[in-house]
Amino acid sequence: MRSGGYTDTMIRILLRHLREGIRSLGRNGWMTIASISAVTVTLLLVGLFLIVGFNLQAASLNVEGQVVMNVFLLPDATPADVPSLQTQIQNMPDVKSVVFVSKEEGLQQLRNKLQADQDLLAGLDSNNPLPNKYIVQAKDPAQTDAIAGRISTLAHVEKVVYQKDTVNRLLTWIAWARNFGIVLMLALIFTAMFLISNTIRITIFARRREIEIMKLVGATNNFIRWPFLVEGFLIGVLGASVPIALLSTGYAILVKNIAILPSFSLLTPVPLLSETGLFLLIVGSFIGMWGSVVSVRKFLRI
């Protein structure tokens, strides 16, 4: 009986806090709107940056994926050496793929490449001066240099060639863009968290008299805190919903219309948007609660 009564009391009080939090959200009117819109606007920005960032990231991987090196073999390599050497390179760390290109295939490719200068290569079919080669791709394009060095020490390898200059320049640019992007992203997320909790703090600061009165009338700290927690959670969730909705519809429209452009493809909405949305929801509700509870604490010392 007694313990049943205790549980009843707990449930009753919890329900009361829930009701109180929701009610307070409504009564604060303008302040609630200001808080929610601060959450909305910051998370919209975060979401926008996340989506753009992931897309640029994917696109840059795509560009980087085209960086390859040519490993030219010495004429002394026998046809039997070819697969063993290939396995050897394949087994190196950081190597993504190794493709064998025979001298005949190489000549064909050179022909295609020189296009206008076909005449130049006339009569070479019978006396092909090109070596056999592997086309090797690194897992991480930035490792190209290191891998090239390692491969060139192998037996039967004449030399390793790739377009050092252009590739390096491009890779550097992309790498910087990506690093900056990550730094900015983190800066943005922290700023968003700070701004949301700052806004919630100010609104609670404006209610400090209310909190003091509650304490003077005999409320415990938890009794005061809980409705604020509920309120902060709701502000976070409501504030995150708008950007999630906006980003989802906006992205869907973009994906549909961008399909016309051939050379750039956007990531598919499903894992991207659902993960971004979840992230925003978690950030919003967590900061909402955290901001509320931390700020309330300051005024409980009476």
Binding site: I213, L216, F223
Partner: protein, 228 residues
């Protein structure tokens, strides 16, 4: 019930507001606290429910030693004391009804009990028809009566009232005083700071006169004094 031993209170950057107060109020007593404006009445009262801490001295309320009282236990003390604040201290975002109900919610009363007690108490102070008004929609005297209702509603062991009739007309003041008298006769201790000479001189009770931070007078069935 209420005991103070050599209690001093000095606010930051001020002269001492209370200087060596010694007082003992028994359970069931009815005490008026009188004195000129700025004498220290409100300070004296604020020490009892721990809105202010004494700079020096020992205070016992209802067997709580306030010096040793842990932060976490303060709400327990305050729930045994119903306070009518001089400036009302109503929650501005809650209706009259909710303000009164709040004192019951904090002690975890059931919805049913809250409804019946709040209704009863609002009737006692004559404001049953203003249940849904916000404090800003009430007249000064109505706000004061809501503050009184909130102090009474959970039947506390002590009622501490700081000028509870300052904004009331004589008729309403007397109704409130009769209410206090009834409650007192049922065993509740009542401490009331007041400037109302009529009330003090008519409804004769113990009078503690505070002047410039000292207890100037403490009489069993006293009068307001300070003739002019």
């Amino acid at each position: 019930m209420i005991e103070m031993y050599d209690v001093w209170k000095t606010y930051p950057n001020s002269e001492p507001a209370l200087q060596g107060i010694n007082v003992k109020i028994d359970k069931g007593e009815f005490v008026y606290v009188v004195g000129p404006s700025g004498a220290g009445k409100s300070t004296f009262i604020k020490l009892m429910y721990r809105e202010e801490k004494p700079s020096k001295g020992t205070i016992f309320i209802n067997n709580f030693n306030l010096e040793k009282l842990k932060e976490r236990k303060i709400p327990l003390l305050r729930r045994q004391i119903g306070v009518v604040f001089q400036d009302f201290k109503l929650l501005s975002r809650k209706t009259a009804w909710e303000n009164v109900a709040f004192a019951l919610e904090v002690i975890g009363a059931t919805g049913k009990r809250i409804r019946s007690r709040v209704k009863e108490t609002m009737d006692m102070v004559g404001l049953a028809d203003k249940a849904d008004a916000l404090p800003s929609q009430l007249s000064g005297g109505q706000q004061q009566r809501i503050a009184i209702a909130r102090a009474l509603v959970n039947s506390p062991a002590v009622i501490i009232a700081d000028e509870p009739t300052g904004n009331l007309d004589p008729e309403n003041s007397w109704e409130i005083m009769n209410l206090f008298n009834q409650i007192n006769q049922r065993g509740t201790t009542i401490v009331m700071a007041t400037h109302n000479r009529d009330i003090v001189n008519t409804m004769k009770k113990r009078v503690i006169a505070i002047e410039q931070g000292h207890i100037a007078r403490d009489e069993k069935r006293g009068v307001y004094g300070y003739d002019d």
